[in-house]
Amino acid sequence: MIFGLEFPPISHVVEWPTLFGDGPFAVNKVIILMWVSAIIAFSVMYLGGRKQELVPSGMQNIAESAVDFVENGIILETIGPDGLKYTPYLLTLFTFILTCNIWGLIPGVQMPVNARIALPAFMAILVWIAYHYIGIKSQGPIKYFKNATIPPGVPKAVLPLVFLIELMGILVTRPLSLAVRLFANMIAGHLLLVTFAVLSQALFESTYVGAVAPFALLVFLSAFEVLVAFLQAYIFTILAAVYIGGAMHPEH
């Protein structure tokens, strides 16, 4: 309650009724949006790669710019040329997260899939498995954990403390912060938009002209949320690439 304005509780903003199924297999709006995002992300890449022409057009343009962005903007900047074999995984992460986030801005849908923590948490666990697997495969298990937990050039006196911090970092903090970063950014944006939408509606019903300022801000914030949706997909992918790169090449 702010100035007599009834703000819906958070559970009403992000929880959706079950459409069919029950228990862990219950399907609601968010799950359906997740499926649709997966289909969209897949079909853009599939249709873009089906007929490859020298001068790209239409769908091939979108697919090529996405691949180019992930290869040049993310992998070559963080892992290096030998990380290019992980392009399919990182490209999938990027396109899927971006499609999931954009749902928050589509009128009539307006629910970012990543505003529920289940999907970010699952993707963070996949990244966790991926970088440990790649590290163990490329360095061997003992060398990998030694290189990951004992940074070079640390004085002997603080080594136990640094060891514990680094161990917590690779086992708990990295996946936790990866999941929470994406989830919290999306839910914060969603709540911001809901707040200004509720405010605009209440002011429009009572005063008509009073709604101009919050509505203008709502439009501006929607544009800002497009940027956030893109940026969070980029940051999730680049952090996954940094973790994989760190597992492949130890610090010297």
Binding site: T78, S177, R181, A184, I235, I238
Partner: protein, 85 residues
Amino acid sequence: MLQTLAQQAPGELEAGLTAVGRGIVYGGAAIGPGIGIGIVVGNAITAMARQPEAAGMVRTTMFLGIAFTEALALFGFVLSFIISG
């Protein structure tokens, strides 16, 4: 006056204190990362202005720094939801 103040519905005090606690948690969690992101972006802009040809590399590293710094504020944001009366 005191009697009017003392009249409250059961659970009202808890709800009010929960709201205050949420505000303190998020506000406190936002101070450090706010300063930190300012330092990160400010230094990145200085670096880009001094060496525009290195702007691409600086920008990537800047986003990484922002992501790591921002995580603390977001933990506070999520924690403020978890607190319930």
